[in-house]
């Protein structure tokens, strides 16, 4: 009896010790000596340049959004100062950003972002906007299926997209497909009130992933063109007919710079499938920001609208 009790105790102790994967808080004894500025900015032609500026913080301890609101942020082209960006506070809880008033970037020109703030090392990053690449073919193949799941209307279809990828140059693309919908509601008197059109994410369905692409929530990253006739993507669009009116689909082909491509690739894989401890953390000091972290990258884009009848 006593022997059985001892054996049980030993076994339980062993199992608990081994397989419960003991853990305890630990002070690694490191100290973050110098925080770095973090830049997040992507820009495209003839549009306001927005730069989000924050700072790195220690992994342990209280986590907060360390927004930088009093930095000096400048856009240069070569040695010429194009504009000193001004800070615009965010609304409705969104983050603020540094924005250009008059400056609008152009295709093919290399711009440098320069930012300083006391207590941080000054940072700089350079990028340009590539030439746009046109969509030459956009076709919905003949396998559109429709189903209703818990009130949601779901369309599954295959989209073939081809674009004029130049040869002998490495090009990077970000393909975004959106479903335009118009939210509405019905008033008590029976009037229908329509609100502004908005774009909803169209995602690849769960059954299939296209070769040579990375599928994020709304973004398909492609290097060059995988085949002469472009690529074929299986997609799924969803809308709620009780609250939304179905519009057209929109294809946006972004021609992006390599920093943009690398950054987005890393972000989309950042949702790594393994727990942070067990999975080997990846070196994330990517980006094209000198003495800082983040990305300042240009891109170009073209749009095409299509419907499932196309």
């Amino acid at each position: 009896m006593i022997l059985q009790w001892f054996l049980r105790l030993f076994t339980i102790t062993t199992l608990v010790s081994l397989f419960i994967a003991c853990e305890e808080p630990v002070d690694l004894g490191f100290e973050v000596v110098e925080s770095q500025l973090v830049v997040s900015s992507t820009f495209f032609p003839d549009d306001v340049v927005k730069v989000f500026l924050t700072a790195t913080q220690p992994t342990v301890g209280e986590q907060s959004i360390n927004e930088i609101t009093d930095a000096t942020v400048t856009i240069l082209e070569g040695n010429e100062v194009k504009e000193l960006l001004h800070y615009v506070a965010g609304q409705n809880g969104r983050r603020g950003s540094y924005q250009s008033n008059n400056f609008r970037p152009k295709v093919g020109r290399t711009y440098t972002l320069f930012a300083t703030k006391s207590g941080f090392k000054p940072i700089d990053a350079s990028s340009s906007i590539p030439e746009p690449v046109q969509i030459v073919d956009l076709e919905v193949l003949d396998d559109v299926s429709r189903m209703t799941v818990e009130g949601l209307e779901i369309f599954t279809f295959t989209l073939k997209i081809n674009y004029d990828d130049p040869e002998f140059i490495d090009n990077f693309y970000d393909i975004r497909i959106s479903q335009m919908v118009m939210p509405y509601f019905v008033k008590s008197n029976g009037d229908t009130v329509k609100m502004g059109t908005k774009a909803k994410v169209v995602q690849p369905p769960i059954e299939n992933y296209e070769e040579n692409t990375v599928t994020g929530e709304a973004s398909i990253l492609v290097r060059d063109r995988p085949a002469e006739d472009g690529l074929t993507i299986k997609l799924q669009s969803r809308f709620d007919p009780k609250t939304e009116l179905l519009g057209d689909l929109q294809a946006e082909l972004r021609t992006v710079s390599e920093p943009y491509f690398d950054y987005q690739l890393t972000i989309q894989r950042e949702g790594q499938a393994l727990p942070i401890g067990v999975g080997d953390p990846r070196v994330s000091s990517f980006g094209n920001v000198q003495q800082g972290v983040g990305v300042f990258a240009g891109y170009n884009r073209v749009f095409r609208t299509f419907s499932l009848d196309d």
């Binding site: 994967a21 973090v38 959004i65 727990p275 999975g279």
Partner: protein, 898 residues
């Protein structure tokens, strides 16, 4: 005159008759000898007294005793019988027969060959030593127990020895090629932690032996977690062999990844050798005979990997009487049955192991998680089964069938919810619920099979034919989600990531290995092997719920990669004056859409230095066409095996090594080893690759490893062991996709390592063992800072910024030093009344001083309110495998016959 003629004739007749009579006495006359033992000289005297025309010199006769059968034989018949075990021959002369030394015998070469086995069980003794005492030569039995010794004729004294067995001496006269099948008796219960060649006169035989041998007796003296003995526990006590904390992460030999090691199970490669992420191995100690570990001096018959070699040999089963063992540790139970199918001719062995703590683990993990404020449980089930059958075929052959099947299933789910209330300045109360969900499940299974046929072609030529099969099937899924829900506004922010991994590898092959003795000091080994592989690595991961990833079984079989590998090798092993050498060459062709041809030369030189020293130099070149790529720090079976392709060439290594041994005294020996390894075409996961297309996720690089290993060995009557210190460095460098092309330390680059192992035999049935190991901390990629970046994949780029951990250098953080002390006491006893029952009890303490050696770090998030703010707080936690733990194991063995 007539009378004279008559007398003369009569005289002639008489003389003729006499001569005739004498000749007739040698040919036809039979002489008696009594049926009893007597000295040789006395037997000859009796023959002479009986009238045999026999001459000899008594001083030339050996002082041996003859067991005369009695009866009557011709003189020739008696001489053939009496002199057959002497160095004498008989010659016929005019006056009869003369016995003289056979001078020609000493100049003729003969071969003694055969098999050496355990006299009580029939198990072949691999590496047993056969020494020619007078000529100071000798050989070692090969991995099948076969030996062949060429020597001069005449009186021979042979000594046969093997660790753990009583030595045997044979004294006989060698007059022809002789087959000697020898059985050695186990030497009782003497403890033997002797992972090196013994320090005695046979040490010259071991000059060319580059392996470190581990037997199951030695393994049984070391108790692992829960009392589970494992051959890997002993291997990790050798200098130059490292792993993660508590064995997690597999075996790293001299700066190689665990996937660089060739692990053989009866000659068949095994793709995963771990249960429970490395806590214990798939090798059931009850089924194992011995394992040989090669760090350098890799024989040409081994190939296909660029790290070390772990060659595991299973037991054949007792050839003479049945035996059943039942045992249990705190983790698993084992049942082993073995015995003859036909005594002396065929036998079987079956051994099964089952982890029986699953139910207990579920219920107690549930309670333990509740203590941490979580719900969920851990489930773990494992079993493995070994089967071996062997059968003698004719006089010169034996066939073996070995099978292994093991399966692990691990599941871990946990959910934690925290409710936080925040009072806003306007008086609004916000109710937050933070939910963390973690779920992981892994199933992995190994199957290994080998059908082998040994054949003794003649006294010099031995061959082994083999058909082999090996597979590894892994299915894993993970999901991790963190969400923050605010009830008043019904707002939800969440982050989810999940994935499925699958790896299916199959290898089928056939091979032939031959060994031929050219001369008394030179032998050659050669062989050929052809293997077909099939790989199906699959990854699906992303920031979506697990249900959105297709189940792996539904994916296309057409994605499988197939390859063929053809390898051939030859090596010559010999001696020139005092210098021993082994030179080999291995050629390999790998075909998978493209063909890769590689040559791998091997060279080893060794010699004695003075009376007490021995040195050895090795050069090894090896190639590895299949790669193990890991995305985890703890070497989970989710790591993928992928083949070389037209885009990815095989990995290669060039290694040089030097070793010096010096006998300080009869009991103390010093050993110094130096090495340098140059690794090329290494393959690893890129850190910014695309999901779901594993081929695009790989990066190619190079590395090196340098080290110096110092060991002091002690072999006393009761106390044995060793103390070693290793100074080592190993680094890697890949392309821009990994660590931005900068070099970084290898994960298990433990700069300093100290290992102490001591066994003390209080008496033959009570043995105490202590092991202490210290290693510099492993390297780890740790994020000490994080930052916010908008997620551009969301349409509105300034919404939902993500927190991204900043990792500036791969493996840039050094974990704390890893050290642990384990002790074990083993008791062996056999009941006086029931001598057929043997009890073996091990109990001890694992991690005696409760060191918390971290395996990895994780981040724990908690929320609380401060005023009107919701504060998120993070803290590092270290994950480790428990503190001080008891170990206990018991085994009962019943033998069918004594």
């Amino acid at each position: 005159m007539r009378r004279l003629a008559f007398l003369l004739t009569l005289l002639i007749l008489l003389l003729s008759n006499t001569l005739e009579g004498q000749r007739g006495l040698g040919k036809e006359r039979r002489f008696p000898l009594p049926n009893r033992q007597m000295p040789l000289e006395k037997a000859l005297m009796k023959l002479t007294e009986a009238g045999a025309p026999l001459s000899y010199r008594p001083d030339q006769l050996p002082k041996i005793v003859i067991n005369a059968p009695g009866g009557r034989k011709t003189l020739v018949g008696w001489l053939s019988f009496l002199l057959k075990n002497t160095e004498l021959v008989y010659q016929q002369g005019p006056a009869g027969y003369f016995i003289v030394p056979d001078l020609d015998l000493f100049n003729r070469d003969f071969t003694i060959h055969g098999l050496i086995s355990d006299a009580s069980s029939g198990e072949r003794l691999i590496g047993a030593a056969i020494q020619d005492i007078d000529n100071l030569g000798g050989v070692l039995a090969n991995e099948y127990g076969f030996y062949s010794l060429e020597t001069k004729g005449g009186r021979k004294r042979l000594r046969l020895s093997y660790t753990g067995y009583a030595s045997k001496e044979l004294d006989f006269v060698l007059r022809s090629d002789t087959t000697l099948q020898i059985g050695l008796e186990p030497a009782g219960y003497l403890p033997q932690i002797e992972v090196r060649a013994s320090v005695d006169s046979s040490r010259s035989l071991y000059l060319m032996e580059s392996e470190r041998t581990m037997s199951r007796t030695e393994v049984g003296l070391l108790n692992g977690p829960g009392g589970e003995a494992s051959i890997l526990s002993l291997a990790r006590m050798l200098p130059g062999v490292t792993s993660g904390a508590d064995g997690v992460g597999g075996l790293s030999i001299r700066g190689s990844n665990s996937g660089h090691n060739l692990v053989l199970f009866d000659g068949v490669p095994v793709y995963n050798l771990n249960h429970a992420a490395g806590l214990f191995s798939i090798f059931n100690t009850s089924a194992i005979r011995r394992a040989d570990l090669y760090k350098d001096g890799i024989p040409a018959r081994f190939g296909g990997r660029i790290g070390g070699v772990l060659d595991v040999h299973t037991r054949d089963g007792n050839l003479y009487h049945p035996e059943v063992s039942i045992g249990s540790s705190l983790l698993s139970s084992t049942v082993t049955a073995e015995g003859p199918l036909k005594p002396g001719k065929s036998s079987f062995l079956v051994s099964g192991r089952y982890f029986w703590g699953g139910d207990l683990l579920r219920s107690f993990s549930k309670r333990q998680k509740q203590l941490y404020g979580r719900s969920g449980e851990i489930d773990y089930a494992v079993y493995d089964l070994n089967l071996k059958v062997n059968q003698q075929v004719g006089e010169k052959g034996r066939v073996y069938l070995s099978l292994y099947r093991g399966l692990d299933h691990y599941g871990n789910g946990s959910e934690k919810k925290e409710d936080v209330t925040v009072l806003e300045p306007g008086g609004t109360v916000l109710f937050y619920t933070a939910t963390q969900n973690r779920a992981e499940e892994i199933r992995w299974g190994n199957t290994v099979g080998a059908l082998r046929y040994n054949h003794l072609f003649n006294d010099r030529f031995f061959g082994n034919f083999r058909l082999s099969y090996s597979d590894l099937l892994v299915r894993a899924s993970f999901e991790r989600s963190d969400s923050l829900y605010e009830a008043s506004n019904q707002s939800l922010s969440s982050d989810i990531s999940s994935g499925r991994f699958g790896s299916a590898i199959k290898q089928v092959g056939t091979a032939f290995d031959g060994q031929y003795n050219l001369t008394r000091t030179t032998n050659i080994r050669f062989g050929i092997a052809i293997d077909a592989h099939r790989f199906l690595p699959q990854i699906r991961s992303g920031r979506v719920p697990l249900t959105q990833h297709p189940v792996l079984q539904s994916l296309e079989e057409g994605d499988a990669l197939r390859s063929v590998q053809l390898a051939a090798y030859g090596s010559i092993n010999g001696r020139w004056k005092g210098l021993h050498y082994r030179a080999g060459l291995r050629g390999q062709i790998w075909h998978n859409g493209v063909s890769y041809f590689n040559l791998s030369p091997r060279l080893m030189l060794a010699a004695g230095l003075g009376k007490h020293g021995r040195w050895r130099i090795t050069y090894d070149q090896m190639v590895q066409p299949i790669h193990l790529v890991s995305s985890t720090v703890i070497g989970l079976p989710t790591d993928l095996w992928v083949p070389s392709t037209p885009e990815i060439a095989p990995s290669t290594v060039r290694q040089v090594g030097f070793r010096y041994n010096h006998d300080l005294t009869k009991k103390w020996q010093l050993e110094v080893e130096l090495y340098h390894r140059d690794l090329r075409h290494l393959v690893d996961y890129t850190q910014s690759g695309q999901n779901n297309k594993w081929l695009d996720n790989l990066s190619v690089g190079k590395g090196f490893a340098n080290g110096a290993e110092f060991s002091l060995h002690y072999s006393g009557r009761k106390l044995r062991g060793w103390l070693s210190y290793t100074l080592a460095e190993s680094r890697r460098q890949f392309d821009e996709a990994i660590n931005r092309g900068r070099p970084f330390p290898f994960q298990f680059d433990r700069r300093h390592g100290v290992k102490l192992l001591a066994t003390y035999s209080i008496k033959p049935t009570i043995n105490l063992t202590a092991t202490w190991r210290y290693g510099s901390g492993a390297f780890y990629s740790l994020s000490l800072e994080n930052f916010l970046l908008a997620d551009p994949s969301i349409l509105e780029s300034d919404d939902d910024p993500q927190v991204i951990p900043l990792v500036e250098n791969k493996n840039g953080f050094n974990l704390p030093a890893n050290h642990r002390l384990d002790i074990n006491a083993q008791f062996l006893f056999r009941s006086q009344e029931k001598k057929r029952f043997q009890h073996t009890l091990n109990f001890g303490v694992y991690n005696l001083y409760g060191r918390h050696n971290p395996i990895f770090y994780d981040l724990r998030t908690s929320f609380f309110s401060r005023g009107s703010d919701l504060i998120k707080d993070q803290q590092f936690v270290q994950v480790f495998f428990g503190g001080i733990q008891p170990t206990l194991s018991y085994q009962l063995t019943f033998s069918g016959k004594r």
